[in-house]
């Protein structure tokens, strides 16, 4: 059986088919685009927690809150691209040190916190989320690195770095452990962890201006203080005591501690769940500084909620971050689902009372400094890390630090 249909008829039939199909779809589409659905980006670990914690907000305002999970490290880059393309979420979770980059790309909205809301939050946390005196995100949790020690091997928390090395070396020499300390360095260095020792020995990365803001023109890596500090660190490097080594990186540092090969471990809150599972008897204390020098000052990182510039729901988004993210109930319900140390003072107090680890981490971070959030900070990681790794490997300290200084200075200057 053969049919002959004029091409024009075929064409009209095709268009008609399409039109009926689309007509059906349009009705359904109409319901979904009801105004008032807030889209939040977060990492998958927190997505459910945020959704649950935001339920009350959703109900009060008669809207829906949707949470999409992205890997935390991808959020910044994806957000910038999505913002440019016009399909960014309304609210997203980010680290406070993204602020400078988000601001220079015009991707976030300034936030004005009412005084009673602001006063409930940690002051340094709020400062960390400011750029040029303007607040851009609402901090809700903080994290800092600390010293985890195996209490079976080292019952007492060391007061100084020297004391820790002494205890660790004894254990290593008696054959009980194979390492003195597990602190990630890696081939490319780890300036984030190294900051604790670097600051204790008197080194500095950026100075601050009169208003207390980070000053990118005052780069301190090539200064005599910083070089002296890295010389102090180099004493414990591969050419010195061999406590700090490039062969220990974030890929194996935790395993060394969990398996009892290292009595001390420079760890972060992200290691706690695994440490509990590994069944090591551990305690948390501050990273000890060098004897007779400054206390070690690790970087503090804050996690915050940001509102995207150009969001279609900016009224709701602003309402959410100013009046809900700052709310004790909200922070506590987030904590229950995903335990991170809150910056909301009331919530922190109530959490610390229940969880000794949280209190210990807060104490370990007492001497900490917020990680600089100026965009120039991004240019420092790689050169500084490589210089630090080279120094731990035994390179000339002055040469390495000065070339890192020059590289960073020329990149910032561009």
């Amino acid at each position: 059986m053969r049919f002959r249909i004029a091409p024009a008829v075929t064409g009209i039939a095709a268009i008609a088919l399409m039109a009926t199909a689309c007509g059906g779809g349009a009705d359904e589409g109409g319901e979904n685009t009801s105004q008032g659905s807030l889209l939040i980006w977060s990492d998958p670990e927190r997505a459910d927690a945020i959704k649950a914690a935001a339920a009350e907000f959703a109900e009060t305002n008669g809207i829906e809150v949707e949470v999409q999970g992205l890997s935390f490290g991808d959020i910044q880059g994806d957000l910038l691209n999505a913002h440019q393309a016009g399909n960014a979420p309304d609210v997203f979770i980010g680290a406070h040190d993204w602020t400078g980059n988000l601001v220079r790309n015009g991707a976030v909205q300034p936030i004005e916190l009412p005084q009673d809301r602001a006063s409930g939050l940690d002051e340094t946390a709020l400062e960390a989320l400011q750029y040029d005196g303007q607040l851009f995100g609402v901090p809700y949790s903080q994290e800092n690195i600390f010293l985890m020690r195996n209490t079976d091997l080292a019952p007492e928390a060391p007061e100084t770095f020297e004391e820790m090395v002494e205890v660790g070396t004894e254990l290593k020499e008696s054959g009980e452990t194979s390492e003195v300390l597990s602190m990630a360095v890696g081939q490319e260095g780890d300036p984030y962890r190294m900051q604790a020792l670097f600051s204790s020995a008197g080194g500095y990365l950026f100075g601050r201006d009169d208003q207390g803001d980070w000053d990118p023109t005052d780069l301190g890596l090539g200064s005599d203080e910083s070089i002296a500090a890295m010389e102090k660190v180099a004493e414990y490097g591969e050419a010195g005591e061999g406590v700090l080594r490039r062969s220990i990186s974030t890929d194996n540092d935790a395993a060394l501690f969990y398996e009892g090969d290292a009595p001390f471990f420079v760890a972060g809150p992200w290691n706690i769940a695994d440490a509990n599972e590994a069944g090591v008897e551990y305690e948390i204390s501050a990273i000890p500084g060098f004897e007779g020098e400054e206390p070690a000052s690790p970087y503090i990182g804050y996690q915050a909620f940001f509102v995207t510039e150009g969001s279609d729901n900016s009224a709701l988004a602003q309402e959410f971050v100013t009046n809900y993210v700052t709310d004790t109930e909200f922070v506590l319900s987030l904590y229950e689902a995903d335990p991170r140390m809150p910056v909301q003072t009331e919530a922190l107090e109530s959490v610390s009372a229940d969880d000794p680890n949280v209190a210990a981490i807060a104490e370990a971070g007492a001497e900490g400094t917020p990680m600089p959030s100026i965009p120039e900070m991004g240019e420092t990681w790689e050169p500084l890390g490589i210089a630090q790794a080279a120094i731990i490997g035994g390179t000339d300290v002055r040469e390495a630090m000065e070339s890192a200084h020059d590289t960073i200075a020329s990149q910032i200057g561009e």
């Binding site: 095709a14 880059g77 004005e112 303007q134 279609d312 240019e379 790689e382 210089a387």
Partner: protein
Amino acid sequence: MAFEKNAGASSRGAPARTPLPGGRFAGNGSLGGQLVKIALLGLFTALGVWAVLPLYVAGNWWGIGLVVAVVGLVYWVYLSKRTVPAKYLLPGVLFLAAFQVLPVLYTMSTSVTNLSDGHRGGKEQAIASIEAYSVTSAEGAEEYALTVATTGSPESGDLVFLLTDSEGRAYAGTEEGLTGIDGATVGPSGRVTEAFGYTILSPTEVNARSDELQEFAVPTGEGTGIRSSGLSTAFEGTATRVYDAGCDCVTDSETGVVYHADNERGAFYDEDGQRLAQGWQVNVGFENFAHFLFNPTFASSFFTILLWNIAFAFSVTFLVFVVGLAVALVLHTPKLRGRIAYRVLVVLPYAMSSLAMFLLWRDMFNTDFGLFNRILGLEVDWLGDPWTARAAVILANVWLGYPYMFLVATGALQAIPRELGQAAQIDGAGPWQSFRHVTLPLLMVAMTPILVSTFAFNFNNFNAVWLITSGGPFSPDNPTAGATDLLITYTYRLAFNEATAQYGYAAALSVMIFLIVSVMSVVSLGRSKALKEVD
């Protein structure tokens, strides 16, 4: 050739018209064929409409024109009876254009801009951010509890801010200014819940007018206004930076500094060369290319990396070929017992996930905890020294790559009749001579295209380098270019590193890689053609 023969056969005895290929679907079709055609065309049209809608919203008329033209072309080709060859070619050509030509063109157009962090959007966007970000509230400025209302319809009536200050006085703020109101009901939260003559908007109604709300400010003085912060609070703030189109500059009223637009660099600069953080995207011509080729640091990194990249791709291809072929020859010996078991063992690396394997190799090269140093009793810092790191990357890749070569070579060897080798032996050739002059030339016919593609693949073998060394080791003098960096890992670091994403540079580098690989492929494919003709 084949086509002509068929055509002749089917038109046996019949005059004139040569039937076209495409069988029943060509001109006249069965009912089923017609229905399938209608469905597919309908689907394609739907796709076009789906693509047009966002373009229409964005006002992109060129884009709409393009979509309409493509849909029109598809209709014409599949409804006309004269366009039979085009019916076969069109899908491939469309896909080629969409997935190959467009990305290349887009990369090329990006490579002549300064697209990077701080230069992503347009100038207007940058100005809007600069102005919006400069609105700050003075220390101790008045805060208000806010209720958003309107005097007209909830969708489009003029917005009014019903405000209560800290002492509970109520005001109505419009675009004209602030006036006190009497008789407003203030709720327990301090917000106005009812006021005569005003319709209070629900949260969703307010939200629907977010764009207006962001612009809305109740003027209270020169540059000062009451703005909303969320749905329930408002604050008095001042914009300290204002753009003036007349001088194309931004003036900071607080510090008195004037920033002038530099339309060549895409940012506002003051007299001392300090810039405002928010810049915009501008065309910089061939500056990105010049930067790589003529800036001493960049140029030396670029050419070192290029040299290593070629050496890497070449040595991996060569070693993989030699090892793969050697193993294939050994296992090709008919007398060998348990050949199948051996073959399975040899192919194993190929069957495992290469990602996991690369990470495993990386750990094996660890100075203190790695397998190599432990077994061999060495203390070599494999990944910390440029030459050992290069050797390590090549070694890991050869291990992962040779099973594939082995498979191909085994297949090719089995296709060569054993009699040829025996004949050579009878003629007095030794095993080496018979391999060199009989087996190898026949083998190369099958292997050459594989070798060319292996080379091209390894030239851009991102995973191999990124997962083992991340391009390192780096020297403190030049932390952007590592000893094992390939052009592709170098590009990736430039474009997506955590510091400043530099898409403009990265695109320029990609264009150069594209040109290099194209030239090499054309040359080597040309040579392999020459080889065939000899054969």
